[in-house]
């Protein structure tokens, strides 16, 4: 069995938790997020005949990014950032967040889910901003409401973790 630790990081209110809720196996309640600061779920991904279990560490997103418990990031095989298209600051802070995460988790594959794609008309980030992000991140639009892009995001994460494994000597 192949397991991968994936940390989900994003600012408060980016819809991180609701993004995965319908797609993952959940055992613990959301109270953990506000108490322990992390909630662990599981996502099974089939990839070219290989079954990969993504153990998702949903890290509590609080108002200040410095609140992230960096211990939880240790050993992560990949990071899934979640940003909110309707809240520009969640995108703007991604580079800083990335620096913080990399300090704890190292240089691991990253995917950015640009959430709330169903509310495109209310987005505060422009196409240009999106282009800029896509130049530094593997970016994918998602919608927790319609489910668009979510499975795809997990597929990409899984593929990335397997690729790094194979790349190792």
């Amino acid at each position: 069995m192949i397991q991968k630790k994936v940390c989900m990081v994003g600012l408060f209110g980016t819809g991180k938790t609701s993004l995965v809720q319908r797609f993952v196996h959940t055992l613990f309640s959301e109270r953990y997020l506000s108490t322990v600061g992390v909630k662990i779920d599981r996502k099974q991904v089939e990839l070219d005949g290989t079954s990969v279990t993504l153990v998702l560490w949903d890290l509590a997103g609080r108002d200040g990014q410095e609140d992230i418990t960096t211990s939880y990031l240790r050993g992560a095989h990949a990071i899934l950032y979640v940003a909110d298209g309707t809240r520009r600051e969640t995108c703007d802070q991604l580079p800083e967040l990335r620096a913080l995460v990399r300090e704890a988790a190292g240089d691991v594959p990253e995917v950015v889910a640009l959430n709330k794609s169903d509310l495109k008309e209310r987005w505060t980030i422009t196409d240009a901003d999106e282009q800029a992000l896509a130049s530094t991140f593997d970016l994918i639009r998602t919608s927790a409401k319609t489910g668009d892009g979510v499975e795809d995001a997990f597929q990409r994460i899984a593929r990335a973790t397997l690729a790094t494994r194979e790349a190792r000597p």
Partner: protein
């Protein structure tokens, strides 16, 4: 200075020359530096390396050799050891302060772990001494006389390791998982992750400094989660009940073993648990250690049941044995009582069974009867007085023993008369039956029902006698010539019969029956028939034949030989009986 000259130079010049001075200076100018370097090289080759030179090369040489093989370490080890020993002898304080930073944490860790175990057992003792369970244990200690501490220990050992997780320390991913057979373990991978998160959470919240040891143990109700950290993986055991200190040691050992045996797969772990499949039996060992003690707890609840079953079995077995013994006893007594020729006077069943009574020698063997009734005769005492039984069976048995009748004879008792029936050889009839004494209980022998088997030769001789008729004239009892001739034949035949019978031991009885024709009165005829028979008897005597047993009967006209033949009826006939 011949050394200063080159070989060709000396051979060319041979002796000193004033102009050679200048040449020498020139040579010195041109070749001087090379010469000096050559001399220096020669000197070095002869003298070997100097300390200065070795000092320059030593660090590099050591690094080079140490990288190549372990020879250097081997060579240095004795020197280093003796150097350390010398150093300690000279100034112990120096070396103590040097190794203190290493020793301190190691000792602290060892002491902390020992104390943690001690505190756990003290805690459990205190806790139990105040609870209702503790009071029950005190009662048990008082009742059994076992020290209270031992009772507590015994009950504190009641626990069960329900699940064991092996968790990758860095990622929190589940490496392996073992759980008790009757348990359903759900989502161990998520629990493993959450356990790691909580460990990090506790460490971050309360002990921010690194290497503080992390979360060791926490309890929820009856459950205790024990965590044993290793550098690459940690083991977490979910224990129900009171976990003993030995379990902690067991978990430590397991973590160490896993790190030793799976060091490469652990170091290379990148999410694939397949290379670590072999870890599972080690985890299961942690479960197995405890399931055995866990059983003690369930058995305590129904402890009376095995005892009750055992007791019931014992009662059943003893009852069965007693019942069987009783049945044998009554069976044996009934058997002895019903047996003819045995009179049971007393039967006792104390330590040994004993039977006392009377027994006819002809009766069945009491030991055989007892054995047939299932009694072990070797352990039974028997006292039998002999007596004669008059029960018909025994009288008959005695008669049979006395007469030894042939197969064709049946014996029956009518009152005190023994009746024999059937056919038997004349010899047996004539000897045994006649001469044997009457057995006890028999007053008379009735042999009338027995037909002797007469041999054909003897039967022929008898027939020779019985065929003859001595005929008389009308109203006469006198013998005429033919009658006398017949008598002579009869006499000879009789002798032959008697001889043959004597050989077989039998007696021949002859009956002479005199008859008359119907003329005349019955009284006259009666007298006449007697005269005729006695005449024949006398005539036989005259011929030397005197049968021992002769009967004469005067039949007159009562039993005529042939009706309507007066001549044949005026006669005497012979009947031979062999006895």
């Amino acid at each position: 200075m011949p050394d200063d000259r080159a070989p060709w130079e000396s051979s060319a010049t041979g002796q000193f020359d004033p102009s050679a001075q200048e040449l020498s200076e020139l040579r010195e100018l041109i070749l001087g530096p090379e010469r000096r370097r050559l001399r220096e090289l020669e000197r070095r080759l002869e003298a070997g390396a100097t300390p200065e030179e070795v000092a320059d090369l030593l660090p590099e040489a050591i690094a080079l050799r140490a990288g190549r093989d372990r020879q250097l370490a081997r060579a240095l080890a004795p020197t280093v050891e003796s150097a350390i020993g010398e150093s300690v002898r000279r100034n112990p304080r120096e070396i103590a302060s040097a190794i203190f930073p290493v020793l301190g944490p190691a000792i602290r860790k060892a002491i902390a772990e020992t104390l943690a175990g001690l505190v756990a057992s003290i805690n459990s003792t205190i806790e139990h001494s105040l609870s209702p369970r503790g009071l029950r244990w005190r009662l048990e200690a008082w009742r059994t006389g076992v020290p209270y501490a031992q009772i507590v220990l015994k009950h504190a050992l009641v626990y069960r390791v329900e699940q064991v997780f092996l968790i990758h320390t860095e990622t929190g991913l589940l490496l392996s998982h073992a759980w008790a057979p009757d348990l359903s373990a759900s989502d161990p991978d998520l629990i493993s992750g959450m356990l790691t998160a909580i460990r990090d959470f506790v460490a971050d919240s309360f002990a921010p400094e690194r290497d503080a040891g992390g979360l060791r143990q926490f309890s929820v109700g009856e459950l205790t989660v024990m965590v044993e950290q290793g550098p690459r993986a940690m083991i977490a055991a979910v224990v129900r009940g009171q976990a003993p200190d030995t379990l902690l040691t067991k978990l430590q050992d397991t973590v160490e073993t896993i790190h030793l045996q799976f060091s490469a797969p652990l170091a290379d772990f990148d999410g694939d648990t397949a290379p670590l499949a072999g870890v599972r039996p080690l985890l299961e060992e942690c479960l197995a250690t405890v399931v055995a003690t866990g059983r003690e707890r369930t058995s305590r609840r129904a402890a009376w049941l095995p005892w009750a079953i055992a007791g019931l079995l014992i009662v059943l077995v003893l009852g069965g044995l007693a019942w069987r013994s009783h049945r044998r006893w009554t069976g044996a007594i009934a058997r002895l009582r019903s047996e003819p020729g045995i009179v049971l006077v007393q039967a006792e069943r104390g330590g040994r069974w004993s039977f006392t009574g009377l027994r006819d020698p002809m009766a069945a063997d009491p030991s055989a009867l007892l054995a047939a009734a299932g009694v072990d005769t070797a352990t039974v005492e028997q006292h039998w007085e002999q007596y004669l039984s008059l029960q018909p069976q025994l009288v008959l048995a005695r008669a049979r023993a006395a007469l030894s009748p042939p197969a064709g004879i049946t014996l029956a008792l009518a009152g005190d008369t023994l009746r024999l029936r059937g056919s038997a050889s004349l010899r047996w009839f004539a000897t045994t039956a006649r001469t044997a004494g009457l057995p006890p209980g028999v007053a008379a022998l009735d042999l009338s029902g027995v037909t002797p088997d007469i041999p054909p030769e003897l039967a022929g001789r008898v027939a020779d006698v019985e065929r003859e008729r001595i005929l008389f004239g009308v109203g006469s009892a006198a013998l005429d010539r033919p009658a006398r001739a017949a008598l002579t034949r009869v006499a000879a035949a009789l002798v032959r019969v008697q001889t043959a019978a004597a050989v077989l031991g039998a007696n021949a009885t002859i009956e002479l029956a005199g008859r008359t024709d119907p003329t005349g009165t019955d009284a006259t005829n009666q007298t006449l028939s007697r005269e005729r028979a006695e005449t024949v008897l006398a005539a036989l005597a005259e011929r030397g034949t005197s049968p021992a047993d002769v009967r004469v009967s005067a039949l007159g006209t009562t039993q005529p030989v042939a009706q309507g033949n007066p001549a044949l009826n005026r006669s005497v006939s012979f009947t031979v009986s062999l006895r």
